[in-house]
Symmetry: C2
């Protein structure tokens, strides 16, 4: 199916997620790995649409999200930076999700500047991302459960 | 805010609902009133967007949906028929919600032909609408709870 870019922007305003994962990771000097992710989750009945979006963005992977739900997930920093960010700058979001996108963009910039490899950078990212995805829908903070937050807060002390 | 019609179509693919209410109503000859409704529900933080959509469609009312959630609701048959239907014919939906729209359109035609004032028409509408809104999300069937379905099925016997 041929998708109009404005249609995609509207659909993402409803169904997309800009997410910053902060994963404890002992192999990193800072103790944390930063994992930005753009995803669109749909019931499997609309899996073809996810493949069309993947084709449109020329990036990402379609995979199981949970149960009957599938997602198009884009994690590649280069794709996020060179395809996803310019796309939503050209075809702007209109809901409060726009703020998530702006924060997401900010974190990407921190990563590109390699600041995420320092404790200061991690703290900055933690501060930005803690104000994201404040939907009344329940968002599974897969990568950042309470224990991890506590360990992150301890590392800041 | 200025909304692109393709953006609206994408947003509705994610967030809109085409709904057929079948309400027991003793004042109707058939015992049922048919209430088609197009609605978009958002958290109150995006209420301005609902007003922008109302302005775009030049129809509907913005009201509380539930708790912190608001909706743009369009029930006027004329508006649904002359504004909403042509809009989604011009700017097509791409998810399976398209099937809901096509069924919705079918029911509107039945209403315009006044067939909904006959028992046959009500049965036809019941059959069509029972295959709508099959999202894995929980849809509140406000107007059609189990008792009402039972009473409708009894009326068909």
């Amino acid at each position: 199916m041929k998708l109009d870019p404005n249609w995609i922007s509207g659909f993402v305003d409803g169904e997309g997620t800009f997410y910053i994962g902060i994963n404890p990771n002992k192999t990193m000097k800072t103790g944390f790995q930063i994992l930005p992710e753009f995803r669109i989750v749909q019931h499997k009945r609309d899996i073809q649409l996810l493949y069309s979006l993947k084709k449109y963005f020329k990036s990402g992977v379609v995979r199981v999200n949970h149960g009957d739900r599938y997602e198009l997930r884009i994690r590649n920093i280069d794709f996020l930076n060179k395809i996803i960010v310019p796309f939503f700058e050209k075809y702007p979001l209109h809901t409060q999700k726009k703020n998530d996108f702006l924060k997401f963009k900010k974190v990407l910039k921190i990563i590109i500047n390699k600041e995420h490899l320092t404790k200061d950078g991690i703290e900055k990212i933690y501060k930005i991302s803690s104000k994201m995805n404040r939907k009344d829908k329940i968002i599974t903070k897969k990568h950042l459960d309470k224990d991890k937050v506590r360990s992150l807060e301890k590392s800041k002390a």
